[in-house]
Symmetry: D2
Subunit: 253 residues, 4 copies
C-alpha cells in the first residue's frame, strides 16, 4: 500500500505582485520562477524527494523524507532570498490525488492565493520516520517511443512540441480520473507519474488509451521505494529496459 506525502508550494499573492505597480518584465518573471523552482528542487531533491514545476506559482512535490522542520526551513530560506514568499500545505495518503487535495485544502483554508494578508502559511502533517516503508511510493516514468527519430529530428520544433503536449494532456487527464495518479511533464519527452498501487495492466491500459486518443506511443518504467528518488530511480532503470528490449511496460520491484 502506498503512502505518498504530497506538498503544495504556492507563491503568496503572486499574480497581483507581477503587475504591481505595473507589469514586470516577462524575462525577469520567467527567471524568478524557474530559479525558485530549481532551488526547491535541490532542497527537496537532496532529501530524496521530487518537485514538479507544474504552474510555477503552484508547485507540487512528493516529499516523503522531508520533515515538517525541513518544510519550515525551506520556507524561511526562500523568504530570505526572494522578493516573494511561499505558503505550504502537506498531506499524506494512499491516493496521491486525495493527498494533494488535502494539502491544497490546508492552504486554501488559510486564505486565497491572492489574499494580501496570507503569507507563509505552513499547514499539514508528515509521515514519521518510523512509519515509512519501502512501498510508500510508486512512480512511473513515461517517455515517447523514438521521439528523437520520429519527431525532434523530423518535424519543426513546435510541431514536435505539440505532439508531446497532446500526449501529456491526454495522459494527465486519464491517469488522474481513471487511476488517481498525478502526471507531470518534466522536459524532453518525459512524463513522471505519481501513482497509488497500480498493476501492469493499468499501465498497459493507459498507454493504449493515449495511443487511441491522440496517436502518441508511450512506454513506461515503474518503480517502488521509500522515497520519490528511490521509486523514480527504479522507474528510470525499468524504462532503460523498455528502450533496450522494445517492451512497453516494465516494472522493477
Amino acid at each position: 500500500m502506498t503512502n505518498t506525502q504530497v506538498t503544495l508550494f504556492q507563491i503568496d499573492n503572486y499574480g497581483p505582485w507581477t503587475v504591481t505597480p505595473e507589469p514586470r518584465r516577462e524575462a525577469d518573471l520567467q527567471t524568478l520562477q524557474s530559479r525558485l523552482y530549481a532551488d526547491i528542487s535541490q532542497f527537496v531533491g537532496n532529501r530524496d524527494g521530487y518537485v514538479f514545476f507544474t504552474r510555477f506559482d503552484n508547485m507540487v512535490a512528493v516529499t516523503n523524507g522531508c520533515s515538517f522542520d525541513d518544510h519550515a526551513l525551506l520556507q524561511e530560506s526562500v523568504g530570505n532570498r526572494y522578493p516573494v514568499t511561499l505558503s505550504i500545505g502537506v498531506a499524506t495518503g494512499t491516493n496521491p490525488v486525495q493527498a494533494l487535495a488535502d494539502a491544497t485544502a490546508r492552504v486554501q483554508d488559510a486564505g486565497s492565493a491572492q489574499d494580501k494578508t496570507r503569507r507563509e502559511c505552513l499547514e499539514g502533517r508528515v509521515i514519521d520516520d518510523v512509519h515509512r516503508t519501502d512501498a510508500d511510493i510508486q512512480i512511473a516514468h513515461f517517455d515517447v517511443i523514438n521521439a528523437t527519430g520520429q519527431y525532434t529530428d523530423e518535424l519543426n520544433a513546435f510541431d514536435t512540441f505539440i505532439e508531446i503536449e497532446q500526449g501529456y494532456a491526454e495522459l494527465m487527464r486519464h491517469m488522474r480520473y481513471a487511476h488517481d495518479s498525478l502526471s507531470f511533464f518534466v522536459g524532453g519527452d518525459n512524463i513522471i507519474v505519481v501513482c497509488p498501487d497500480l498493476e501492469e495492466a493499468d499501465y498497459e491500459e493507459a498507454i493504449y488509451h493515449v495511443e487511441e486518443a491522440v496517436d502518441v506511443e508511450l512506454q513506461v518504467g515503474v518503480g517502488r521505494g521509500k522515497s520519490a528518488h528511490d521509486a523514480g530511480f527504479a522507474a528510470k532503470h525499468a524504462l532503460e529496459t523498455c528502450r533496450a528490449d522494445g517492451t512497453r511496460v516494465e516494472l522493477e520491484w
Copy 2:
C-alpha cells in the same frame, strides 16, 4: 507586416547524457534545465527578447535585437558554465511557424539531436538593425478569466492544473494550425502567443474555439513592437484593460 526572428536552442545529445553512465538524479536534471533556461532568459531578455522553456531541451525564443554575435557569445558562455552544450538555429519571417521551421531545419541539417559529434552548431541569419521596424513583432498575452477565484482557490491544485493545461493544449494547436502562431505556457494561467499579423476577429475566434472545445474562458491583450519585450509589454497593458473592464480582447497599438 511582422518580421519575427525566431531562435531554437537545442541541448546537444542531451537524452543520452542524462542516462550515461546510468540515469542521473532527476532533481539534478530538473535544476540544470530550469537554471539553463533562466540564464538564457536573462541573456535574451535583457536584449528585449523572449525565451520560452518549451521542452527545456529544446527552447524557442523571439530574438529580434540579438545579433549573430550575441548568439555566439551566449553559446560560448553556456559552454563555459554547464556540463552540456547548445546548438542554435535562427531564422526570420512574417510567419512565426515558418521561421521556427527554418530555424529547426538549420539545426537538423547539422546533425541529429542525439548525434555525438554535433556540438555547438550555430546556423542561420538575423535581421539587421537597419531593417527593424516597430511592427516586427505581434504578441498576444492570454490568461484564464478569474482563474484564482474559479480554480486555484476552489479545486485541488492538480484539477486546476488540468483545466489550465487543457486550455493551453487546445489553444496551442488551434493557434498553430488556424493562425500560424506559436503559443507558450509561461506559468500561472498565462499563455504568450507569438503571432503574424492577426486581427481582433482572429483572437475572438480563438477564444470562442477554446471555450467551445474545452470549456475554458480566456481573455487576451495584444501588442506590437520592435522587440518581443515592446510587443509583450503592450500586450500586458492591454490585458490589464481586459481585467479592469471585463472585455475579452484588447489590442494596444
Copy 3:
C-alpha cells in the same frame, strides 16, 4: 571542548581547465565560481553548516551535522550540474586549524590539485550523531565598529575596502597563529572565525592586536552550539548586543 568537523572542497584540476584550450571569459569563471559556492552554501547551510568561499577553487566548511553520505550526495550533484568536479576531504578535532590540516592532507594524498587523473576523491571521517554535543562549535562574528559612518559613507569604495581588507588580513593571521582559529571574510565588514575553546580575554587581545597593528577597530560576538548555525546564530545575537551597548566583546552561552 570543541569538536569541529571541517571540510575542504577543492575543484579538480581547475587552474588548467580555466585556460584550456585557451583562457575562458573571466565573467564566466566568476559566475561559475560564485554559483558553485552558493550551491554548496545552500546544501551545507540547510544542514546547519557554514561554508566559506575562501579562494573559491578551495572552499572551507564547518560541517558538523553533515554525514559522509551527505558529502557524497553533494559531490554527485555538483558533478551532474557543473562542468567541473569536486574533491572533498573531511576531518575533525578540537583544534580547527589541525582539523583543516588533516582534511587537506586527505585530498593532497589523493593527488595534486592539478592532477588530471584525480577526480572526485572523497576522504576522511565525520562525527557520529551520538557523539555530537552543544559545545562542539565555537564561532566568533567580528565586524568593524561604525564601518558605514566612518568608511562606506566617507571614503571612496576602494579605500574603504582597503581598510576592511587590512583588518581582515591582520586578524586572520593573528587568530591562526596565536589562537588556532580560522577567519573568513564574509562580505560587508563581517568576519566569521571558527575557534577552539577561547576565553573572553583571547578576543580582547585579538581586537587590541588588530587595532595596534592596522588601526581598525573591531567588535565581536561569540557563540557556542552543536552546529555552525547554532553557534553562529548565538554569535550574531551577541554582536547585536555589542552594537546596542557599545561593548567590544560579548559571549552568549
Copy 4:
C-alpha cells in the same frame, strides 16, 4: 591614455536588512550575495565588462560598453528578482581610483548606505560609443608563481590562503597608493588590477615590492583594449607567456 568607466553597485540599506527583524541565516545571506554578484557579472560580462565581488554589498565594475540604459535595466531586473535593491554610481577618467571616487561620491550624495529612504539611485555618466578607443582600458592579471606546487599541494588550505591573502593585501595597497590602480582578488591565486597607463617598470617595481614585503612571488600579464574583456583577455594571454617562458612581466599590445 586610458579612459576607464567605473561603476559602483551598492546594496541599499543592506546591513540593517540582514538583522531585521532578527539576524537572518548566514547561509542564506552568503547565497544571496554570491548569486547577486553572479547575475551582475553575467549582465556586465556579456557586454564585455568586468565586475569584482569586492565586499559583496559594494561591488566595483569596469563597464566601458555599458550604456546608462543598460545600468538602469540591470537595476530594474535586480529589483524584480531579489529582496534587496541596488544603488548605482558611474564615472569615468584616466585614473581608475579617481573614477571610482567620483562614482562613490554620486552614491554617497544620494544618501547613506544605511538610509532607509535612499533606494535605487542611479547617478553619473558614461562614455559615449563614439569616444571609445582601443586604449581605454589597461588590465593587469597577476598570479602567484607555482602556487599549486609551492602552496596548495604542500600547506594546509588555510595557510595557503594566508599566503595568497597577504600577497593580495600588500599588492592592493601598493598599487592603489603608488600606481593609482584598483586590485581585486578573483579566486585561486589570481588578482586582476585595473590600471591607468603604466609601464613595464611599474609592474616590475610592484612585484619586487610585494616579494620584499611579504615574500610572495608574483608574475603578471598586461593587456590593453576597448573593453575590460578585451584588455583582460590580452592580459590572460600575456600571463600564459609568463607561465610558458618563466618571465615575470609580459605586456601584450
